[in-house]
Symmetry: C2
Subunit: 271 residues, 2 copies
């Protein structure tokens, strides 16, 4: 059998948000090769129908499989919520979504078992987090809230901005009445806004960055399957997008938290 351990981990998202997951992967697993794919030609997935997202996810997974990856990480909550099965069917390697690790991390953190979840309209409407959290604890109370404007605010760099604070207060005020002690950032864009979100829900609430939870899940899975990269070479981190690569780097580096190098164009996505 071929030794797959030096093959890259494939990571994909609708666009740029999944880079916060790559950030967590690089921190926890600095020895792994990574291929990232962002579907910038059709971003965002959050407001689109499950049917559309499932079609796109199939193509995204197909691209990563064609790159000979050893594992696929769905760094997009919307895809994880509505198309995990599509990606699994399309892939011949282990697939990790963000929902289950995020739910597990939330239930471990919450003492009162009152958990808030914020995400795109697609993720919240799917109830995927509620169902996953209830798998771990059927008595847990889960309160979901779609925060669609957070994606564009994060991408446009309105990070610590008064307008973002006002919008956050409006989206999140009901969580105070619901007395949550834990809030899942159920969209990979949201960690960029974590300061504003934390202030809005109060310092007592624990924020769950599902990117960190996913990185831990990936680490455990690599160990279980003995797939950790043991090569002494400096790992390769490659970035692919479906639209033209220009402009991806500027916002991308803010999400990744470091320099990106060359971004490549994945063929076959533009008409």
């Amino acid at each position: 059998m071929q030794d797959k351990s030096s093959l890259p981990i494939g990571v994909f998202d609708s666009g740029i948000g999944g880079l916060t997951v790559v950030h967590s992967l690089l921190k926890l697993l600095p020895n792994e090769n990574i291929i990232y794919f962002g579907d910038t030609a059709r971003v965002p997935y959050g407001p689109k129908s499950p049917e559309a997202v499932r079609g796109y996810a199939k193509q995204d997974a197909h691209f990563l499989v064609s790159q000979n990856v050893k594992m696929i990480v769905i760094a997009c909550n919307t895809v994880s919520a509505v198309a995990l099965d599509v990606v699994q069917k399309e892939s011949n390697v282990p697939v990790v979504g963000v929902i289950v690790p995020g739910a597990k991390s939330a239930i471990q953190s919450s003492r009162k078992k009152r958990i808030g979840v914020i995400g795109t309209k697609g993720t919240i409407a799917s109830n995927a987090y509620t169902n996953a959290i209830r798998q771990f604890d059927s008595d847990a109370k889960v309160f979901g809230k779609a925060c669609p404007l957070f994606v564009s605010l994060a991408e446009e760099g309105f990070i610590n901005h008064k307008a973002t604070e006002m919008i956050a207060n409006e989206y999140l005020f009901s969580f105070k009445q619901e007395k949550i002690d834990t809030l899942v950032l159920g969209c990979t864009h949201y960690p960029i806004l974590s300061e504003v979100i934390q202030k809005s829900v109060s310092e007592e609430v624990t924020l769950i960055d599902s990117g960190i939870a996913v990185a831990e899940e990936v680490k455990q899975l690599l160990e279980e399957k003995e797939l950790q990269n043991r090569s002494k070479h400096k790992p390769n981190i490659l970035f692919y997008v479906s639209d033209v690569p220009e402009k991806f780097t500027e916002v991308g580096e803010r999400f990744l938290g470091m320099k990106m190098g060359k971004v490549r164009r994945a063929e076959g996505f533009l008409i």
Copy 2:
């Protein structure tokens, strides 16, 4: 020769924004049949590359041509700015974009010939308005500013919201120093936010809604080509989208300013 006058006018946009143009068409040309197509499976076009937008525009035009329309109105500034030629090549009927009518209307309104243009990143980067305005008056001073957050604020219903005011003030404050007397709303979403925009640039500045300018252009063209619908039947207004039709109606009616009836799914866009 077949009498084409009772055929519908085809109108398309990346999604929902073009409904403000339909609103103007219905007002000025209440006797015309209209088929609207919104590419909701791939919305928005504004942040995407000209290459991607040109590919999508080709498919959108192809859909309207297949519906046997007598004219195509590109109710999207981004497409009008970067893909007018693609739509013309794909169509065997007259094509009207929003840029030239908007530019003409701006130059007619401006006394100081100092004109501001706001739009998506794609529209502003293309300089299409600047070039079109200078065709009418080569001495005109044109100041462009991309306002990407306006699209999601309009779609999410943050219309007369304090946060929208703050963001508008930030985007638009330079126009005061540039002493413009006319501002082109160079994105079909922006008329929804016209109150906030007007307040931000001061009451003295004339706002140009390119939807109204386009409707006038369409009226003139129909007269020139003797294509006005003279049928006594109540006109048909049909709406098609590329993603599933649910959810389109709610926001759509705010943009259209009236009830929409059934929204249909255009086949062949989802994978």
